[in-house]
């Protein structure tokens, strides 16, 4: 028989460590249907039962304040799990019990996992489990240290007992005080008559608390009666009903822990408090935050680069060659099938896999920042500044990561709590010029601006930031107007050393999710693009036409006039931009094909053993370079300070990348003027970053929002390019 057991608890109570300890790698990260809230599910076999463990989102309460709370509540009500494990932080028992009381009000078979008992002990907090369990009506209380799997067997036994026993735990009824109890008694007959799916007393309390979600779900007559009852309570007592109910819950908690919990001293100054004096300081906090963000940026942008290049080389080199060789053995050389496999499928798979090292690096950084407790401080110190843009303190990280790559930037918006903040931040992240756009700027820069090429690059980065700021003001003032920003209130968990297992499973779970969800979209789109390039329109053979004679070229010709007001209305330019929709990396290679008619010939075939050796050596080199990049974060950071020069490590003695494709540059000088080149680059900067980013947006924000964002970036890019070109003409530059 399959059992469903869910984990509920406050954020920072260590739910994920217990979830990981229970399920190991047998877990699946996804989203709750229609929500941008992460859903984690895992499986394990316990005493002959297959158990599905659902990690519910971290919540402080079961009101309808956030999507997380509604998800948790609905899951418990609708899915009727066989047992609920309430994970509580032993060092913060009182606040955590607030949620436990609400779970007990819902009559679920409950087990209390008293997590981080070691921390509580080290702070001389003593908890009498026996007394606590008795006072909670017999709920088993299991002391645990989730990060070291201590108490895990006891938890497994207790939750299986709770799930299979069905020994009813007596519902806990708090006395909410005469004025509230009187109104509850008045509402109960009404509720019973309406036959709602909810436990009656629980519903009565929620309605008196003015729970918006439930008020809209019950019949209007009941909602109205509840509102009148709540008004009578506040008239009679001078306090709002919700305040009185919260007060009653906290008094009950006071009774529960009296004599069962003892602490050495009230409000001791902890090590975290001392660290916060620096890390959350008004000035030093910002300096340290910026330094850390720089390191994260280096990590995602540079540390992942060698492995990225290796994967790219692996797919464009040996894998392609072997495929061609195998197909040759079946007499399929030069056929459309070979072209589909090599250009469509292998190109697509390679295009997906190159993101893996980037995402590994990003998720490592995020996991460490989150698990150490620092992320909450980052939001705290940046809040002052980001508020001015109508954003949340935590919005900074995704935007910064976006300079490396938009895809992990979009995923990094998950660190924000409020769905609207996530969407706005995701919107802005695409305007942070990612690493893949840089080669385009560089090619145009050296073709048109020579030594001043750096200025072009700098100007484009600055334009991106400027557009992001304007977009933010536009979104927060117009689109999300009337929705007041969620009040800035968050828990600052104590600092701790990140748990390697939590970090590893975080990286693994999220990267696998990307491969599964974004991967399929990218692969499908690469095949579609291949098809467009393969279909001849001016006669010729399928899969053997020039780009200009294919359906792709024909579409480019249709689109091209749209760009005439921006000065680059030729089909070649439109074609390159269409290719850039798949990924910005492809713009330069597409341009060299389209403008110079050069095709990248396959390298000469070589024996399999040589290939194998090259792959191994390449991987070795990539790993060495990865290490080198980690070390080089130090000199690069120091060199940011003007006047400092610290040499960087160069272990493999590689010549600096000269880049530059003179044939292409000559062709570009013939096709563009400096002004149209600038307008073109502005368009490249601002339009849809790439297919992987679009897939990420869809995954995070839904199809509608993804469409909106694509449309917005296209319009902004188009207008931006026109403004640049027309202003240039007006000023007589050209």
């Amino acid at each position: 028989m399959t059992l469903t057991i869910c984990l509920a608890g406050n954020p920072n109570a260590g739910k994920s460590t217990i979830f990981n300890a229970l399920t190991g790698a047998r877990q699946h990260v996804g989203n709750w249907p229609g929500k941008t809230v992460e859903k984690k599910e895992g499986r394990l076999s316990l005493s002959g039962h297959e158990v599905i463990i659902v990690d519910l989102p971290g919540t402080y309460s079961l009101s309808a304040f956030s999507a997380e709370e509604i998800i948790t509540r609905d899951f418990i009500l609708d899915a009727q799990p066989d047992a609920v494990v309430a994970v509580v932080d032993a060092a913060n028992l009182e606040r955590n019990l607030y949620l436990v009381l609400q779970l007990l009000e819902m009559h679920v078979p409950l087990v209390l996992a008293l997590n981080m008992s070691d921390v509580a002990e080290s702070r001389a907090i003593r908890i009498d489990r026996q007394t606590l369990s008795e006072r909670l009506g017999g709920v088993p209380v299991i002391p645990m240290v989730g990060s070291r799997a201590i108490g895990l067997d006891a938890l497994k036994a207790a939750m299986m007992r709770a799930a299979t026993d069905h020994a009813a735990i007596p519902p806990l009824c708090l006395d909410l005080g005469a004025p509230v109890e009187q109104e509850i008694a008045g509402l109960l007959p009404l509720i019973e008559r309406e036959a709602t799916p909810y436990p009656p007393r629980w519903l009565a309390i929620k309605l008196l608390e003015a729970d918006e979600d439930l008020l809209s779900k019950v019949p209007p007559a009941l909602a109205q009666a509840a509102q009148q009852a709540a008004d009578r309570i506040s008239e009679e007592t001078g306090e709002d009903a919700d305040t009185l109910i919260a007060d009653a819950r906290y008094s009950c908690i006071g009774e529960l822990v009296r004599g069962a919990v003892s602490r050495a001293a009230a409000n001791p100054i902890t090590v975290s408090d001392k660290l916060d004096r620096v890390l959350a300081h008004r000035v030093w906090g910002v300096v340290i935050f910026l330094a850390l963000m720089w390191v994260v940026f280096q990590f995602t942008a540079n540390v992942s680069a060698p492995l990225l290049d290796w994967i790219d080389g692996l797919f464009s080199g040996p894998v392609t060659r072997w495929t061609v060789a195998i197909l040759g053995a079946f007499g399929l050389n030069g056929t459309w099938f070979e072209s589909l496999l090599v250009d469509g499928v292998i190109g697509g798979v390679g295009g997906v896999l190159v993101f893996v090292p980037v995402l590994f690096a990003l998720y490592f950084a995020i996991a460490v920042l989150e698990d150490s407790g620092y992320m909450a401080r980052a939001a705290f110190v940046m809040d002052r500044f980001m508020q001015k843009l109508g954003l949340h303190g935590k919005s900074f990280l995704p935007m910064l990561v976006g300079f490396g790559c938009t895809v992990p930037g979009i995923y990094a918006t998950r660190t924000l709590e409020n769905p609207d903040d996530r969407k706005i931040t995701g919107f802005l992240t695409t305007f942070m010029s990612c690493g893949a756009r840089l080669p385009v700027y560089v090619v145009f820069g050296s073709a048109f601006f020579g030594a001043a090429s750096g200025n072009l690059v700098f100007a484009l980065y600055a334009i991106g930031i400027g557009v992001a700021v304007l977009t933010s003001l536009l979104l927060t003032r117009l689109v999300f107007k009337g929705k007041p920003a969620a009040p800035f209130v968050m828990e600052l968990p104590p600092y701790r050393v990140p748990n390697p297992r939590t970090v590893a499973l975080y990286i693994w779970g999220h990267t696998a999710e990307f491969l599964r969800r974004a991967g399929t979209v990218i692969l499908a789109a690469s095949v579609v693009i291949w098809l467009l390039l393969a279909i001849p329109v001016n006669g010729g053979q399928f899969a053997r036409v020039n780009a200009g004679d294919s359906l792709f070229g024909a579409i480019s010709r249709v689109i091209a006039p749209v760009f005439a007001p921006a000065g680059f209305g030729q089909w070649e330019a439109a074609s390159s931009l269409m290719a850039g929709f798949v990924s910005k990396e492809t713009i330069v290679s597409a341009m060299s094909q389209i403008y110079t008619n050069a095709s990248d010939d396959l390298p000469a075939p070589q024996p399999l053993t040589d290939d194998a050796r090259d792959i191994a050596v390449g991987l070795g080199e990539a790993l060495v370079l990865t290490g080198q990049e980690i070390v080089n974060i130090v000199p690069r950071t120091v060199n940011v300070i003007p006047g400092m020069h610290m040499p960087e490590a160069n272990l493999l003695n590689q010549p600096p990348d000269t880049g530059g494709d003179t044939a292409l540059e000559t062709a570009l000088r013939a096709a563009f003027t400096p002004l149209t080149a600038l307008a073109f680059n502005v368009f490249v900067l601002l339009y849809v970053p790439c297919l992987a980013a679009v897939a990420a947006m869809r995954q995070e924000f839904g199809t509608r929002w993804m469409g909106l964002q694509m449309a917005y970036t296209l319009v902004v890019a188009w207008l931006g390019a026109i403004v640049v070109y027309q202003a240039g003409l007006f000023l007589g530059i050209g």
């Binding site: 607030y98 702070r123 919700d242 800035f488 209130v489």
Partner: protein, 85 residues
């Protein structure tokens, strides 16, 4: 509504002081959110860190530390330190 003679907004309390919370101005949503996190009328909070312009860190219910934005600390009314009801 309860009425106290010597009340001030939480934002005016200096770090290191412990005060009793007497009222939260603002909507039911804000009050509930704060109550969920352990800030309800009648409780004591200790201001750990903060200045008059930015967010604040307060200690509630033993070891819990909460960051509160300026918009909130202006709306939380406490008994001025050194006074009693």
């Amino acid at each position: 509504m309860l009425h106290h003679e010597h009340t001030i907004p939480l934002s005016m309390v200096t770090p290191g002081e412990t005060v009793e919370l007497v009222h939260i101005h603002g909507g039911q949503k804000l009050r509930k959110r704060l109550a969920d996190l352990g800030l309800n009328v009648g409780m004591t909070v200790r201001v750990m860190q903060g200045d008059t312009t930015g967010p604040m860190i307060v200690a509630v219910k033993g070891d819990t530390r909460l960051a509160l934005g300026r918009g909130i600390t202006h709306h939380v009314v406490v008994i001025a330190p050194g006074q009693s009801k």
